[in-house]
């Protein structure tokens, strides 16, 4: 097209400037976590730590409750995502492969529920989990309470995205399996499941990230420092009472962001995001 030469050079410069501004906070977090305390506390910033130190990482991981809260987070996230994926997959099969009365209502509720801000539900969920009816349990300050909330939080979009992945599988494949004498279940297990596996992985990773990043309900439902999740732990990180330990804080932030970033890079392309799916036909 026409935009060659000079105009393109100009746009490239703008693009690079944009890149620099957008990436700066991430860069600054990582860079700070490797600096010495003197460099951090100086009024004149050091842009690149030429003699990187791991001291702040050591400090961060030896801070009380770091490992306990990492463990809590991993348990909560794995259990919640595991349960949610099984349930969501079943519902997604129903939406993708069957027409049934009430299907539309179900879709409306699924999409509608997803848009409700979690903060609006803190009171009844707290009251509910503090005293679960019928079972008579108190799930406040227990990982189970947070797990239950996370399962329901990730279900709607998981169903919706999985449905999208299931729709992408040609019907002929499934039918061919049945012609070969398989039952519907057999066809499902042998043909559908392997084909939808990448979709399942992508959806569960997205659910993983959502749960890992969640703050409100973890803060609401878990009070003991040894019972908290890592986002709550990070939100309380200040250092000594006198001054914030920025180096340790940034090192901890980096450590907490790493799993999310890695997983996100894995699936970002696959999840063309259920939220807008269909509006862009890629």
């Amino acid at each position: 097209m026409r935009s060659r030469g000079l105009p393109r050079l100009g746009w490239n410069v703008v693009g690079l400037a944009l890149f620099a501004v957008m990436i700066f906070p991430v860069f600054w977090m990582i860079s700070t976590s490797f600096k010495t305390t003197d460099q951090i506390n100086s009024v004149t910033p050091t842009w690149f730590p030429l003699h990187p130190t791991l001291q702040h990482f050591r400090q961060a991981i030896h801070k009380p409750y770091f490992w306990a809260d990492v463990k809590n987070t991993v348990i909560v996230v794995l259990v919640a995502v595991g349960i949610a994926m099984v349930l969501a997959f079943l519902a997604a099969v129903a939406l993708a492969k069957y027409r049934f009365t009430g299907r539309k209502t179900f879709i409306v509720l699924l999409i509608g529920v997803q848009m409700l801000p979690g903060i609006g539900l803190i009171i009844p969920l707290y009251v509910l989990l503090a005293h679960v009816p019928v079972l008579g349990l108190n799930l406040v300050n227990r990982l189970a309470g947070v797990i239950v909330v996370y399962v329901s939080a990730v279900l709607p979009f998981s169903v919706w995205t999985l449905r999208g992945f299931l729709l992408g599988i040609p019907k002929e494949l499934e039918e061919a399996a049945m012609v070969d004498g398989s039952t519907r279940l057999g066809a499902f297990m042998r043909i559908l499941l392997p084909l939808v596996a990448p979709g399942l992985v992508a959806t569960s990773v997205f659910a993983f990230i959502t749960s890992w990043n969640e703050y409100v309900f973890a803060r609401l439902l878990l009070n003991d420092q040894s019972k908290q999740t890592i986002t709550v732990w990070l939100s309380y990180y200040t250092g000594t009472s006198r001054a914030t330990d920025w180096g340790g804080l940034m090192a901890a932030s980096t450590l907490i962001a790493i799993p999310v970033v890695l997983f996100f890079l894995l699936v970002q392309r696959r999840i063309a995001f259920g939220l807008t799916a269909g509006a862009v036909k890629a």
Partner: protein, 315 residues
């Protein structure tokens, strides 16, 4: 064998009634677990929420159960100036966030079309990295960058001769605090919008753009009459999503401003709700605020839900 397979493909043509009943119930069995979980963890709490909003319900009633007091909580909230001020502030806050996110996202998407391949890859990597940042982590990075003593923001602004920002406290006034929250939220939301819009831009037919250019249309005209109509559906969806998210925002604002500094003058709805419910432990009043907030969100989400359902119907 062949006949049986044919029957299996055309499912409903089975003579036996019980079989039809069984296969008819399959989808219901499949959605049942999800419905059960959402019923227990969403529908039932919403029912409880309505009930609590009609009750006097404080920490004490957590053990004994609430006392029915009719619409008193709603009356109290709707006659509270803090509620109306917070609502207004949240509307403005949301408008600014959404405007900046959608406007900025569109500009970035248009820029991505115009740059060289390697710049596009670089910017995309940057966007995805930002997108992946956990909100609580981003808050802490913002805290560090804007800190009074030696935040890098003050240093850079001073060095660029924007003014003397040495020792400037960004969290001194409610306006400035919320402005910082806006930058944090917009920064985090831009990648999703920009990348989605960039994908949508690839749908703009080349021939149309060229035809418009041959007809003498330039820059803005091409965008307005050729590109924008193609982007419109996705722009609507992104805008309504952003409105819903930003209106209900809590974590970023609450943590960035910090609990001790959170006061009615810098409340947004999410923070107001938290303070009323959790800190002052007046669950009845908090429930009334929740219901008002959820109702506003529900009304606003009608458009988005209808559009998405149409997508679901077509497929």
């Amino acid at each position: 064998m062949g006949a049986a397979a044919g029957a299996a493909v055309e499912r409903p043509r089975r003579p036996l009634v019980w079989r039809r009943v069984r296969s008819g119930s399959v989808p219901y069995l499949l959605v049942l677990p999800v419905v059960a979980v959402l019923g227990a963890i969403l529908a039932y709490p919403i029912y409880r929420l309505v009930r609590i909003s009609l009750e006097q319900y404080t920490l004490f009633q957590l053990r004994t159960g609430g006392i029915y007091i009719g619409l008193h909580n709603f009356d109290s909230v709707l006659h509270d100036a803090i509620f109306w001020h917070t609502l207004l502030r949240t509307v403005v806050f949301t408008a600014v966030c959404v405007g900046a996110t959608i406007g900025g996202g569109t500009l970035i998407a248009l820029l991505l079309v115009r740059v060289s391949g390697w710049v596009r890859i670089l910017v995309s990597i940057g966007l995805v990295l930002v997108w992946a940042m956990p909100p609580v982590v981003a808050v802490q990075v913002w805290n560090w960058m804007t800190n009074v003593q030696n935040g890098v923001l003050n240093y850079v602004l001073t060095e660029l001769h924007v003014g003397d920002y040495f020792g400037h406290n960004w969290f001194q006034t409610p306006f400035s605090s919320l402005a910082m929250a806006v930058t944090l939220i917009v920064w985090g939301a831009l990648p999703f919008v920009a990348i989605t819009l960039y994908a949508a831009l690839s749908q703009v037919p080349h021939e149309l753009v060229e035809a418009a250019q041959i007809d003498g249309a330039r820059g803005w005209r091409v965008f307005k009459d050729v590109t924008l109509p193609v982007l419109k559906p996705i722009l609507y969806i992104l805008t309504s999503l952003s409105i819903l998210w930003d209106f209900g925002v809590f974590t970023q604002v609450y943590l960035l401003i910090g609990q001790p500094a959170v006061v009615p003058a810098n409340y947004v709805m999410g923070v107001y709700l938290w303070e009323e419910a959790y800190i002052s432990s007046d669950y009845g009043r908090g429930a009334a605020i929740s219901i008002l907030m959820l109702a506003i969100v529900a009304v606003m989400s009608v458009y988005y839900v209808r559009r998405m359902v149409r997508v679901g119907e077509v497929e």
